[in-house]
């Protein structure tokens, strides 16, 4: 078997250019598969980390319905008012964090313009981590303070200790956060009470509830839902556990991954047809040689094995190169996404099963594509093959 392997390798090296071109066909397919599948994995990994950071004991209250598919949670754009004191009386409800997104007019360092402001209740940092590069977070009940995104701080040339004017009211900059916080770096965080005062509304865009220790998360979510429906008289808010949201997002990413994988699979199929074409040509070209091998006593199975190994090796070579290029592409995509979007929407990493799967599959595609040509070679009549010109 090992010696037949040697014969197969020599056969490939003998027609180098054609072998390489065929390998490129497989390479493109495998590159696409690996790049797209690992990209999907990177998304899932990043999503998983976000959810783990927030914690699975957290329940979200959002406007609208939690839809299936790509829709996901309702948009942040429809703020709603909520009675926090009444909500806190619901059984199992622990800490409550409030968030509101608004566009505000900011002046500082001789520049001015609109910025996204995130109004937060003082305890919000116990719900999700904000990575500070400078200064500190808010203290309980603090007012008139602001934390800038790194991009904003750089743009305005202001750091902790400086002052910004938001809607013409001065705010003391107490800290600067980075994108590792999963918040865009081009926003500004201020206390919710300040934002509500500035915009003249009591509305929030999201409520986070931590389930008190000892209470079941989904049961508590159900009680919150019942409470909201009773107190509001309509179903304008949806209550989701992190588990549910995570599931919806994973399902969406899964569908996306399968779709992309399918497209990549077509590329691989084309590569496989390329292998088959090359192998048929090789069998035709080497008809006489096959005749000679039979004359010196090669069994049909040995002839078939030589050609199967040749085509499988071409597949494997394409697989090795394609896996390398595909995972590099993923690395570049993750890097580019971090630079362009500023947030950790992707997290690099490639799973061993994807690497092994890609290598195994590429060999398999090569071998399957070589099956018919190898059979044709094995079935050649030795006398006719020897006579072949």
């Amino acid at each position: 078997m090992l010696d037949l392997f040697g014969i197969a390798v020599r056969g490939l090296l003998h027609r180098k250019k054609r072998s390489w071109l065929t390998i490129v066909g497989i390479l493109i397919g495998i590159t696409a598969v690996v790049a797209l599948v690992s990209l999907g994995e990177s998304m899932q990994r990043a999503v998983k980390r976000s959810f783990e950071e927030l914690g699975y004991d957290v329940v979200m209250i959002l406007p609208g319905e939690l839809g299936g598919g790509f829709g996901g949670p309702g948009s942040f754009s429809t703020p709603f008012e909520i009675d926090v004191d009444a909500l806190s009386t619901v059984e199992g409800v622990g800490e409550i964090g409030l968030l509101n997104f608004q566009s505000v007019y900011v002046k500082a360092g001789g520049k001015e313009g609109f910025l996204d402001a995130l109004g937060v209740s003082g305890n919000i940092f116990s719900f999700f981590k904000v990575e500070m590069v400078e200064g500190r977070g808010f203290t309980e009940g603090e007012r008139g303070a602001a934390i800038l995104g790194r991009e904003v701080a750089t743009e305005l040339g202001i750091g902790a200790g400086g002052t910004v004017l938001i809607e013409d009211r001065p705010f003391a900059v107490v800290g600067v956060y980075s994108a590792d916080s999963r918040l865009d770096e081009d926003a500004i965080i201020i206390p919710l009470a300040d934002l509500q005062e500035l915009t003249g509304t009591r509305a929030v865009t999201m409520v986070l509830v931590r389930v008190a220790p000892g209470y079941d998360v989904s049961e508590t979510a159900k009680r919150i839902e019942d409470f909201l429906r009773r107190s509001r008289g309509r179903r304008d808010l949806s209550v989701q556990t992190m588990e549910e949201v995570h599931e919806v997002v994973q399902r969406a990413l899964g569908i996306l991954g399968a779709f992309l994988g399918g497209i990549a699979g077509i590329a691989l199929l084309v590569g496989g047809i390329g292998v088959m074409n090359t192998m048929y040509t090789a069998v035709l070209e080497r008809t006489r040689e096959i005749g000679v091998m039979k004359a010196v006593g090669a069994r049909n199975s040995q002839i078939a094995l030589i050609f199967l190994l040749e085509s499988g090796l071409m597949g494997l070579a394409g697989g090795i190169l394609g896996t390398g290029i595909g995972s590099s592409l993923n690395f570049i995509a993750v890097f580019a996404a971090k630079r362009a979007l500023g947030t950790g929407v992707l997290e690099y990493g490639i799973s061993w099963w994807l690497v092994l799967g890609a290598l195994g599959f590429s060999f398999l595609v090569g071998a399957v594509a070589g099956l018919l040509p190898a059979r044709a070679a094995a079935r050649l009549d030795p006398v006719e093959a020897l006579r072949y010109e």
Binding site: V292, V296, G297, N300
Partner: protein, 232 residues
Amino acid sequence: MTDDHIVKLEAVWKVYRMGRRRRIEVEALRGVDLGVARGEFLAVTGPSGSGKSTLLHLMGCLDRPTKGRVLFEGEDVSALRATALARIRNRRVGFVFQSFNLSPTLSALGNVELPMIFAGVPRRERLRRARELLARVGLTERERHLPAELSGGEQQRVAIARALANSPDLLLADEPTGNLDSETGRGVLSLLSGSNADGVTVVVVTHDPEVAGIAHRVLRIRDGRIVEDTDA
């Protein structure tokens, strides 16, 4: 008497179907009876298309007769499966062709190894045997060369070394000197008669009167029939 014969043909017919729909029948052999004795050096002569090569292919178990029987060491070739025939070709028969037919991707050494690879001979033993055979045909210095880097005479010597790799009982050569100049051809012939002296039965298809000169027995074929059978 069968035990004396390494290969025996009994009323053998071979009909080829040619053409696009295989409708044209060509009778290559028409009722040939022939016994090749063990240790014999037999030359087969005759015009082109007389059936010489077909005869050789049948003796070497590369093909089965259309009618009649081919007995290789007393065993009916028609009754054997393809794998069994491959085994006979591998272990008992060595082929030498007019156009050398070396594998272009393998070195001289690799070509000589080939039949032993198919026989499953371990690598170390294979290399030892292949080097010994290349030394015997005077090509020790050329073992790393590809066929394209060898002269015609050298290629044919590699082919003879390959044919002898698994120590066959029967060596079949189809116009082995046909593509060589007469001096190189003589070198090849002396290798063949040397093998015969070592006890290998040799059958040579040839146009070359020199080959017929060193053979024990000369057969003349015409139109698929043996027309002359003379002992030297």
